[in-house]
Subunit: 430 residues, 2 copies
């Protein structure tokens, strides 16, 4: 075993950080054996000193000066679990300039500034790993970066937010509406006091940007991702899905076109057939489905969040960067060498499920069908039901561009005989 | 990009080897961009020259002298896809002595001589990767070696043989018996002419040895794995499972005991609840379920076999070892540092489902229950059915050691009122 221990600076001691500190201390011998050198905490940066913390670490490790900590000459690795853009970004850049490798769980930062951070890591000859940023404990980013790297990924389809999956799962199993299911999620600790980041899809969009960047070797930021959360999903949408043998999921979908010239990344609710492997992902679990040219269809499944599972992913990366420090190796550079065009949502190819409240009179179906034909959107199925006030027309389309499909919905909305567009939902996975 | 191209020697040009050669040639530009250097085939060793091969490679690359090929001074990486113990082992050792890193798909070799090969790789400062040896295209071994390495794996439960999963899946969906389902598998190309290695569990046992070695940092060879194939699984067993809301799967199970002092590795058919994530693995797909202390329950799913998916795993490893050659890095050493004791099957803790044909008279249940009590095996459920010749007693036990459970079966068999032990199957996943 190497004589000099490796020094690790930990930034943040919240839910994840405290678990990282705990595991580093209680499993120090195992980590040392697997790395080939002992690993020691150089310091733990927190916002406020003096808080009582139930951790088996030396209290003298705590500091409120994160910048001083990452600049110490003997720090080999910096683990950033603060979150948010600043001060995390500045601290990470300072750490890299100081020659430290980086392990982070910061999806917002990676989704926004991933390319810049990778370039800085390359320039300073250090590693940058962030498995914990997407899908918690599930080894997914490293397989994408290092196992599937000999293949061409065509599509990544994922349930990457546990809060929204829990809510939708509850709506499916109990018939509850969104508000009721959100309340239950909050009570059980699956949703935060302010659930906006989760239910509006911001969290999933950041993860989609990271997945698309790695899968397609192209720079995709959070701003490039079409984002729609689950706040407009109704109990009635969920019931319609069930009638079709489907389930409503919030999906992150990253695709490259046939000619591999452009990519799309989008997050939105969608109906998924119950036979799809992702449909069985319950509660707060995550799962990501990857389609590659040679490997075919792979699925990765596991806990998407939580202090301990996320800390597991952080520790996995920590061992990797520490091994590199010991062996003199380096992670492969992540580059956007393919540099594909990122298309707008309008170009994404998908299917729609449209529920219309219509006038109960002859000729409505013909009018509706004509509009679809004029938009060049092919209809797969139509179902007419109800009489009088309850007359309803439900259409499921074939694949078309999102622009053509949403254009169709707007024209339907304008039809005098269409009293309301009761619901519109995309359909995926068939 | 580095100026000197990396030279790769390919040993074997069968189903997998020809696909590796094809992908290396058709995706050479992408591979070069991802590795940071061009990669070229130095030669392709085959048993018989002169066979017509439909490959976009220079025919001059083919050679029948594999030993000469791996000894060439300019060979950086050797890809071994011949299979079997010899000459693969000797060629790999010679290649490592020559300073070449190794990528292989050879499960039999790794299950038998993994420890020796890793020691040789360590000694010669080269990499040894074998993702394709277990679960085909699914990135599983690298996540175990490099992502979950900061965690403690408790249990690995897998469907790792596509042939037997296809057969059992057919038996479940059509009610067919084993022979009929095997015939169908052979017709469709899911079973080989001689299916012994698959249906007798040898293939799965080799994979279990590899998984247990990596998961528990301990030397586990194929000989250490308890092995039972699916040839004794009847249509009636499958029907019984369905009645219990379960499905019969051939499982590879690797576990460490609570105190982390000993490990078991076993392959045998078992009943699995249909709600278990592994129960939904259909046809020839594979899936491996990993339980870790921090990460929790992870599942990896995908195509377990086939030329193209397996080649994808080989290429993923190839990129990794090539990147190390370019950067001067090395894969982490795989060591059996934990050196845990490998327990015999008798110590494995499991549950049994036992079907007895019994005499239709009073007191039989009491006699049977007494035997269980004397063996210290607790009964979970008992079901009595049928009259006269059809009198049947079905018992599902709680968890006990396999020795206690099999001892119980032997004593039941000896009871005069038990006409026959109709079936015995282990129960897992609850």
């Amino acid at each position: 075993m190497s004589e000099r221990p490796l020094k690790v600076a930990l930034l943040g001691c919240g839910v994840v950080g405290s678990e990282v500190a705990r595991l580093m201390t209680t499993t120090a011998d195992d980590l040392g054996a697997r790395i080939g050198a002992r690993v020691e905490l150089a310091g733990i940066a927190v916002r406020r000193l003096g808080r009582a913390r139930d951790l088996p670490v030396d209290p003298a490790l705590f500091t409120s000066d994160a910048h001083e900590l990452v600049s110490r000459p003997d720090v080999d690795v910096v683990v950033e679990v603060i979150g948010g853009i600043e001060p995390a970004r500045s601290l990470i850049l300072a750490a890299m300039e100081n020659g430290a490798s980086i392990v982070t769980a910061n999806k917002a930062l990676l989704a926004e500034h991933g390319a810049q951070l990778h370039a800085a890591a390359e320039k300073h000859g250090v590693d940058l790993y962030y498995e914990a940023a997407v899908a918690g404990a599930i080894p997914l980013l490293r397989p994408l970066r290092e196992s599937l790297v000999g293949d061409k990924v065509k599509r990544v389809l994922g349930i990457v937010n546990g809060t929204t999956n829990f809510i939708l799962d509850r709506m499916d199993s109990t018939g509850a509406g969104f508000d009721e299911a959100l309340d239950e999620a909050t009570e059980l600790g699956y949703a935060e006091a302010d659930p906006t980041a989760d239910v509006e899809g911001f969290d999933a969009a950041a993860k989609a940007a990271i997945l698309a960047s790695l899968a397609f070797h192209t720079k995709v930021t959070a701003a490039d991702v079409y984002r729609e959360g689950i706040t407009q999903v109704s109990a009635s949408d969920v019931a319609s899905a069930r009638e079709m043998g489907s389930v409503v999921k919030l999906l992150a979908i990253c695709e490259v076109d046939e000619a591999r010239e452009s990519v799309t990344a989008r997050v939105h609710p969608a109906m998924l057939p119950r036979t799809h492997p992702l449909a069985g992902v319950r509660e707060a679990y995550n799962a990501v489905f990857v389609e590659s040219e040679a490997a075919g269809r792979l699925m990765f499944y596991g806990p998407g969040a939580g202090g301990t599972p996320t800390a597991s992913a952080v520790l996995g990366d920590l061992v990797a960067v520490c091994r590199n420090k010991v062996n003199g190796g380096r992670a492969p550079a992540v580059s956007a060498y393919a540099d594909l065009r990122v298309s707008a949502m309008g170009e994404a190819r998908t299917r729609y499920h449209i529920s219309l409240d219509v006038d109960d009179k002859a000729g409505v179906l013909a009018q509706v069908a004509l509009i679809f034909a004029q938009q060049d959107v092919s209809i797969q199925t139509v179902r007419q039901s109800g009489r009088g006030e309850d007359a309803r027309l439900v259409v499921a389309t074939h694949v078309a561009t999102d622009a053509a499909l949403s254009g169709t919905v707007e024209r339907l909305r304008a039809l005098p005989t269409v009293r309301a567009v009761a619901s519109v939902m995309r359909v995926e996975g068939e």
